[in-house]
Symmetry: C2
Subunit: 344 residues, 2 copies
């Protein structure tokens, strides 16, 4: 222990972390480019396996699984027909849009067959990687409206309330406004449920773990961050992390916005979709197949009363639909546990 | 749901998975090359922070933390002076050794100051990524002897027993031999403890989640695997995963070897060191700093009776040793949770 050496500051450590983050981001771009054709091939294959995605969700990692509750299970097990995760800014880049998109921005799309819970054929949620004035970085998302069938809103008005507030703020031209009726109404709902609303679909109303950060604020903060980072590289004594703004004011505003946040772990859930469920889908599906006989009664439970579209048989006999020539067993013990595999 | 399309076989899915694995492996190489200098810079910085690694371990992810028990805590909190994780085959490659080393092989090294538990200055464990005849792939490791001080073996003879069996098998020229006295002795110990021996250090006796696979077997199986993979790419109907050997025989042998395996999650622990703790070390250290006042009493508990080298003060006032200019707080909410960050 070289206790006699000069002390290290938090800024020194932060600068090293920033360097790692830049490498990570660059690697995510390379990974994306390298795995495009493999993902296309997978999409083609799994489209030919009925109930592929419901079975994957059945084996979802805990970060996702803990948010899927018994009353969400039916619509997922019987009606989920497709999942896709895209690195949305990289896709836009490839389509000739903005260059230098951030690979951490995500779009998660779930497709459903016609059902008696909501009328949407797909629910698509986009998470933008943004930087706030005060140095906070993370994913923010616009709340997504779900068109619930009458009396079927599993989120008890939380997604509707989140959309209403977001739209009211856009109309008011102030994304931090809290004098609005919609703010009070949603705050009341959030306080009432206090994390106890247990529908997976509440996630679609998620905005941010701090507050909504606009593209403009993020661009300005990122430019300032880069300026400081470069100055630091040239030996100037600057704090790389905080680009400006009063931190106390920001903290207060963030607190006010967390009072109207409908989901407590929206970012974590999005990242688990992108980094665990999506790359590991075939492995999770194979696990679900192997669970075979000892299938999870909660997940496959048929609620006959609510199920009036005759779709029960879709759940039955799923596992026989994938042809095996008998070697599935040996894959069980192959490689590290799914959750710990290198991420793509 | 395109139920009318031709069915997909497990072999089709396995081939896609194999393609993803190849991309992953290639990305791990790129990652390794891209982050070398950043890791060197980090090593230099953290060497100047006393108790950096004990604080990181204090915030270790659950895959590691669950294996660190109260009687392991003291030697870790007071005597752990260094941690390093290397992609051992890539390092050997760079030093002019074997080419095309597998980036999944790991070497984890823990360094300790003089203590009253064991006389080793460092404990170093190497995990080799290997492929068995029957298609199993994973990390295998030679058991590492710990030179316990008298009466201080926290593993209750499990590491010694694992080393003794390994050496006896090497001497017998048969790594699967089970007629040996060392096999019977270790089997008895493992059965007795049945996962209830709760020292972190038992991990150093770990061999494999299946059985020990020699470098020779792995090379032969990998060559055969590649031959099959290429044949499949050219349209032949072959099973890519299983390179040969009787699977039933292999299963039986694996079972016999699991009866003398001293650790139930050795591979998972190694991968958590390499993919979570190692890349996230600064973040975990910062978290530990922020825990500051609400520090974990179990971890920092001083057992005065056993501590006879006057080192108590090392634990005290650690947090003041890192200089802050006051912005640590904003890093708290910065970016996704540590465990979910993109892996390096």
């Amino acid at each position: 222990m070289a206790t006699e050496a000069a002390p290290i500051s938090y800024e020194d450590l932060a600068a090293i972390e920033a360097e790692f983050q830049e490498i990570d981001t660059e690697m995510m771009r390379k990974q994306h480019a390298a795995s495009r054709t493999a993902y296309a091939r997978r999409a083609e294959a799994v489209a030919r396996i009925p109930n592929f995605w419901p079975l994957v969700l059945e084996q979802a990692p805990p970060e996702i699984d803990q948010h899927i509750h018994s009353h969400d299970s039916r619509v997922i097990s019987e009606h989920l027909t497709g999942v896709s995760v895209t690195r949305v800014e990289l896709e836009e880049e490839e389509e000739g849009g903005a260059t230098a998109g951030d690979p951490r921005s995500l779009r998660i799309r779930l497709e459903f067959s016609p059902n008696d819970v909501f009328s949407d054929e797909a629910l698509e949620k986009t998470f933008w990687y943004r930087r706030a004035r005060d140095g906070w970085t993370g994913l923010v998302s616009e709340p997504v409206r779900i068109h619930w069938r009458k009396g079927k809103d599993a989120t008890e008005g939380l997604t509707d309330g989140a959309v209403a507030l977001f739209e009211a703020r856009e109309k008011a031209g102030d994304m931090r406004a809290k004098g609005l009726a919609e703010y009070a109404a949603l705050g009341k709902k959030v306080e009432h449920w206090n994390g106890a609303n247990t529908s997976f679909f509440t996630w679609f109303g998620y905005v941010s773990g701090r507050r909504y950060i606009s593209a403009e604020e993020s661009e300005a903060a990122t430019a300032e961050y880069r300026r400081r980072r470069d100055a630091r590289k040239h030996g100037e004594q600057v704090d790389v992390e905080t680009a400006g703004g009063s931190e106390d004011q920001d903290d207060e505003e963030a607190e006010d916005d967390q009072a109207v946040e409908v989901h407590e772990a929206g970012e974590e859930l999005a990242v688990a979709f992108a980094e665990d469920l999506w790359p590991d889908a075939i492995k999770l599906f194979t696990q679900a197949q192997e669970m075979g006989e000892m299938s999870d009664p909660e997940f496959e439970e048929d609620d006959g009363e609510e199920d009036d579209d005759g779709s029960e048989e879709e759940v039955v006999d799923i596992r026989s639909l994938v042809q095996s020539t008998g070697k599935a067993k040996s894959r069980d013990s192959s490689g590290p546990p799914a959750a710990k595999r290198a991420k793509r």
